[in-house]
Symmetry: C2
Subunit: 329 residues, 2 copies
């Protein structure tokens, strides 16, 4: 599956790459959980704010699983209420991305997971500190040992567990997926017309595959420059190749009704606005109000099964656990 | 039950007030859920950061149900990372309290729930703004109508629903409760010795009833003044009676292993330290290291069943929903 997605990425337009169906978007497959104990450990870590310096910010703070795996803010809030430089992308279906972060600077979910913990503008901890917090908590040590057969908690293990949990965060069974699988009544006429217009307009050149995106980097502003106050440069920050300036990972459109506001700068607060901007700057099209509404209606049919698990209960700290320090720099 | 607790409160020392058992601490009873639909609505609201101005802080941020219903910080973090004036008390078993907040300024959970939403140092919204956010979201309007038979969402309904959810957050079935109910093997010898010492030392004068606290206001520093940098004055702020200066609601000891750090100023980071300080300033006792350890061991036997429900999925905002404004004052 992963190799198929990578292949699709290199083909840029991937509409023909999937043999399973003639449609450019494929159904999301349910997660196959290889190691439930690792997933459970990763789930706790994902919800644990003690991975941050302040003891207040967890992965779930900015990738909130109650809210489409995002924070629904233009840009995120970090340690000491710092304003983040970029919109927090959804963690839902992120295992389907060809790389992580808007500029793809992490190749895997595991690589990604270590970043925010030690980013001074986000969780503001260090890997050393976060590990010493976890190592001080006997229940974490026991759970870690059960999963990794080691008494010593490492960044590699922690990020592997978080990634294993994140890999379960796929959202199958949207109405659109039901339609793709043959239930022709799953979409309304309006939604189906929106999907046809979405394809005919060229949106699927970038938004294709199971995630309807996430599998290529594309320039933001193909036909018309994108005006933004964001300083984010895109993929050039990773490749140092000027040709990659303003190239960003195409965001998934799965659950897009939940993952507002849109674009890397969070500048589009509504789907209507996002569709309008994309039409203009990427495709040179001005959608009428009716066309726009049809596409939006289609997009909302891609909301799938949301995370379905019990709120994790975290093991307590104790006298030997390093204390959070929210109020000193 | 409530009237019994209030009666106990007025008797100050309540050891004889409970007919059910000779013990001064009573088992926690499981929640009786009268209106499941109201509880479900309240649960969503409890987890919804859109009740804050920033869109980032929910009830669960400072009363985190993954962490004993607290934030495990000395004092809480509010809007724009403001440092709160007081330690965030646990929401677990808070329905058993004679009043809410450390100074008891809210008589009911419903009264309490409205406070943080509009407190500029906490969630920093206004009731008007929070209501207009909720009213804009059709799924909330429908759920509210189902519960309250009204199309118009009010503060009264919102806080009633949050309180109904909070009333379910009781934690029965601790090992100590099992012992109270007759399972004499539920406690170790050390824990039982700790409980005997806890009673013999006079701790149960204040920490009694089902919540082992929460049912009286008491002076912090009976025998010896309590030294603190906290400006909190206690109950006098409510009653304007100088005799109530430094009187605080006795905190529950239920789940105390999870609700660190301790006291209204969060100054005691460990149970060992908390037991030592309480012995000295409230009872004029210096516990030996061994005695202290016994009491701590008993206290840890009061951790009960933690919240057990699925992570709520929140209904999305839409174009008409007022936007969060995390970065302007």
């Amino acid at each position: 599956m992963r190799s198929l997605i990578l292949a699709a990425a290199f083909m840029v337009s991937a509409s023909a790459a999937f043999a399973a169906s003639d449609e450019p978007i494929q159904p999301i497959q349910p997660a196959k959980i290889a190691n439930p104990a690792m997933v459970e450990l990763g789930k706790k870590l994902y919800f644990d704010p003690r991975l941050s310096k302040s003891g207040f910010i967890s992965c779930n703070s900015c990738h909130n699983l109650s809210m489409g795996g995002t924070d629904n803010l233009k840009t995120s809030i970090g340690d000491h209420w710092q304003e983040g430089p970029i919109n927090s992308p959804t963690v839902l279906n992120s295992a389907l991305n060809l790389a992580q972060f808007w500029d793809g600077r992490a190749l895997t979910l595991q690589d990604q997971a270590g970043g925010p913990i030690a980013n001074p503008g986000e969780m503001a901890s260090t890997h050393t500190l976060a590990l010493s917090v976890l190592q001080s908590i006997p229940a974490y040590v026991a759970e870690y040992k059960n999963v990794f057969k080691s008494d010593k908690i490492t960044v590699d293990g922690v990020t592997k567990a978080i990634a294993a949990f994140e890999e379960t965060l796929v959202t199958p069974n949207s109405r659109f997926d039901k339609w793709l699988k043959g239930d022709k009544k799953a979409l309304t006429g309006e939604e189906l017309a929106g999907y046809e217009l979405f394809k005919d307009s060229g949106c699927t050149a970038c938004h294709n595959g199971a995630a309807a995106g996430g599998n290529t980097f594309q320039k933001m502003g193909v036909v018309e420059p994108y005006k933004t106050s964001s300083a984010a440069e895109g993929r050039v920050a990773v490749t140092k190749d000027e040709a990659d300036r303003f190239y960003f990972k195409v965001p998934t459109l799965r659950n897009v009704e939940l993952t507002y506001p849109y674009f890397h700068d969070g500048a589009a607060s509504s789907l209507t606005q996002a569709v309008d901007t994309m039409g203009r700057i990427q495709l040179g099209k001005s959608f009428t109000k009716e066309e726009n509404a049809k596409i939006v209606s289609f997009l909302k049919s891609m909301t799938g099964d949301q995370p379905d698990f019990k709120l994790p209960i975290l093991p307590p700290s104790n006298d030997s656990t390093p204390k959070p320090t929210p109020f000193n720099k």
